[in-house]
């Protein structure tokens, strides 16, 4: 019992040190390792979609973003690897720092940022003109990376994505010949091949069956031993299962905002905000 309490206290300590907003963390002298959003806002034209979000994503953790539809979760993670700017009317404010460096600084190359901060989308989207092997290697080819041993990368990434056993005998088949869950794991493998230090996942399991979802959750846990994973999900159980930290977003009709961020266990059992409690207990949303 005592050890458990101790563990919880440690997590709270973690929270104090790592998850809370950058503003409150002036006393941390060393550069924060990982991804950090500071007072981030987002607009689409005149529509203020996201207001003043500050969050930290330490290395080797999984952070779940939960909240009702339209509260800006997807907008937020698209801001984290500069996919937001592909929408013509988009605008933003605030800072996103990776290992202390602003990814929106004028001299930073957006393509290089996305190479380090990968993304998996809601809908599986393997490249139809490429086979499974080429799909895994596509990032390397697209970004002109020099790699010696392609075969080991293919095997390594597919293994980490939990797909190797199923496809090792048909690496030349097209991505489209796989099932939805396999396609999504192929997309994860593809993101891993360029060795990102953060992987953003925008509802990666929302189109998948429970079996595939389970496989992907296992994959996420394995990934978190090396990199930071940020996952948007509408599935509260999933957030509870896979994430170390959880952030709850909400909108009152205006821009979405962050209500509360905490270690997952605390957010689900003893949240500090009543709205969080209502949401995680399924009273609304």
């Amino acid at each position: 019992m005592d050890t458990l309490k101790q563990g919880e206290r440690n997590m709270e300590q973690d929270l104090e040190n790592n998850v809370l907003a950058g503003n409150d963390a002036k006393d941390i002298k060393t550069t924060f390792r990982g991804l950090e959003a500071k007072n981030v806002h987002a607009w689409f034209g005149n529509h203020h979609a996201l207001s003043n979000v500050s969050l930290r994503f330490p290395e080797q953790t999984v952070t779940g973003l939960i909240g009702p539809s339209g509260c800006g979760k997807s907008t937020f993670i698209r801001l984290l690897n500069r996919m937001h700017e592909f929408i013509p009317s988009a605008a933003m404010a605030g800072q996103v720092l990776q290992n202390g460096e602003d990814i929106y600084a004028t001299d930073v190359d957006a393509a290089a940022v996305r190479l380090k901060i990968g993304m998996v989308f809601q809908k599986p989207n393997p490249f139809p003109a490429m086979n499974i092997r080429e799909n895994v290697l596509s990032g390397i080819k697209l970004a002109h990376l020099k790699v010696a041993d392609h075969d080991s990368i293919v095997e390594n990434c597919l293994t980490r994505a939990g797909l190797w056993k199923e496809v090792k005998d048909r690496l030349n088949a097209t991505g489209g010949s796989l099932s939805g869950g396999q396609q999504q794991r192929l997309c994860i493998a593809r993101s891993l091949a360029v060795e990102p230090s953060v992987l953003l996942m925008d509802e990666p399991c929302s189109a998948l069956d429970p079996g595939s979802t389970l496989r992907i959750e296992e994959t996420i846990k394995e990934l978190a031993q090396k990199i930071a994973v940020v996952i948007v999900t509408h599935n509260m159980q999933q957030a509870a299962r896979v994430s170390d930290f959880c952030a709850f977003f909400l909108t009152d009709g205006g821009p979405g905002y962050l209500v509360e961020a905490a270690p997952t266990k605390i957010l689900f059992t003893n949240p500090s905000d009543t709205r969080t409690a209502d949401y995680v207990q399924g009273k609304f949303g």
């Binding site: 393509a111 989308f121 139809p128 990032g139 697209l142």
Partner: protein, 354 residues
């Protein structure tokens, strides 16, 4: 006694697969018999009355078929009868729309068949006069000339057309509106204007009619077709794929080149073939640029060059029987080439739609 779900009788035998929604054999037979009776009746009427020819037969057949169907379905309910008549109406409309095309095709085949012999493809008109027997001379020079010009035009147009498609859908730069506007207006340019344009520029410059000039005129006509088809095809690429590529750290041109374009490879092939089919029968611009020739010309620069459309045009103007027959064969070959190209486009375009 309360019935439960388990009370339903469970059978383990696998039943025969059936298609209860399909038309029964009796219904199918009814239609066929009705059609045969109508055809025989129509043939008789055409023989004994003043109605004549294919048109007369078709019209009589249609009327009799409608009447017999009406009689046959009079005892059935109104819905079935209505269904029968709508079927007839739609079938008749299809035949009506299809028949002009068939008529053109049939007359070209019939009239062109006389001269459709091996020498037509390998010999030229160098030592043959148009009025000679059909076993002498041919259109080898015209076929080669057409091929040469169309291939050069394709090499000019394809990169330009695909690039403008990429500009319109991928780059979406500041000039998008104007590029699209110019491409659309260009597709409305009369072909003779394209010929005149090359005549006043390229031919004035080089001082001679040539295959190159012909190719350039064809390229002017081909470009809008290729560009617009390429644009339409590129629009079909889901944005998901572009996002996925960008999220892997790819730049825009790498994304276009390695993700977007390979995805629509077959569509772009279709664009090229549609462009070729658009210009291969053009006559007017060639009369002003490549002129014509009676012998093989392989060099696209410096001298006039033969082509199938100008071959047909020239021989029809002479007007004697053998000359006309040669012209019809030329038209037949031209049509077969277009037909083959469209078939290839269909085949290639349909192949990898997964």
């Amino acid at each position: 006694m309360s019935a439960t779900v388990t009370d339903l009788q469970q059978t383990t035998a696998i039943p025969e697969p059936t298609t209860p929604w399909a038309r029964t054999r009796g219904e199918k037979l009814g239609t066929v018999v009705t059609f045969l009776i109508s055809a025989i009746a129509a043939a008789c009427i055409v023989l004994v009355t003043g109605l004549a020819g294919v048109d007369g037969f078709g019209l009589t057949l249609f009327v009799i078929f409608v009447v017999i169907t009406f009689v046959r379905t009079i005892r059935l309910n109104a819905k079935v009868r209505k269904d029968e008549f709508v079927k007839i109406a739609i079938f008749a409309a299809a035949v009506l729309a299809f028949s002009p095309w068939m008529s053109i095709f049939a007359s070209v085949i019939i009239k062109g068949a006389k001269g459709f012999r091996p020498n037509f493809f390998v010999e030229t008109m160098q030592t043959t006069t148009p009025d000679d027997e059909l076993n002498l001379g041919g259109a080898g020079h015209a076929i080669i000339g057409s091929m040469l010009m169309v291939i050069i035009a394709t090499f000019i147009t394809l990169p330009l057309g695909i690039l403008s498609g990429v500009y319109l859908t991928e780059v979406r730069g500041r000039l998008t509106f104007w590029v699209r506007f110019v491409v659309q207006s260009m597709s409305g340019v009369p072909s003779i204007v394209a010929g005149l344009f090359i005549y006043t520029t390229f031919i004035d410059l080089t001082n001679s009619f040539s295959g190159m000039a012909g190719s350039l005129a064809l390229a002017v006509l081909m470009l809008p077709t290729v560009a617009r088809t390429a644009e339409e095809v590129l629009k079909l690429v889901p944005d998901d794929l572009r996002s996925a590529s960008y999220a892997l750290g790819a730049r825009q041109w790498r994304t276009s080149l390695m993700v977007v374009l390979p995805t629509v490879r077959s569509g772009l092939t279709t664009a090229a073939i549609l462009g070729v089919a658009r210009v291969i029968g053009e006559t007017a611009p060639l009369l002003l640029t490549s002129l014509s020739s009676n012998s093989y010309v392989f060099n696209p620069i410096g001298s006039p060059i033969g082509s199938l459309p100008t071959y047909v045009f020239g021989l029809l103007q002479i007007g004697t029987e053998n000359a006309s027959n040669r012209a019809w064969t030329g038209a037949l070959v031209l049509m077969l080439i277009v037909f083959a190209l469209f078939s290839i486009a269909r085949f290639v375009g349909g192949k990898d739609r997964r």
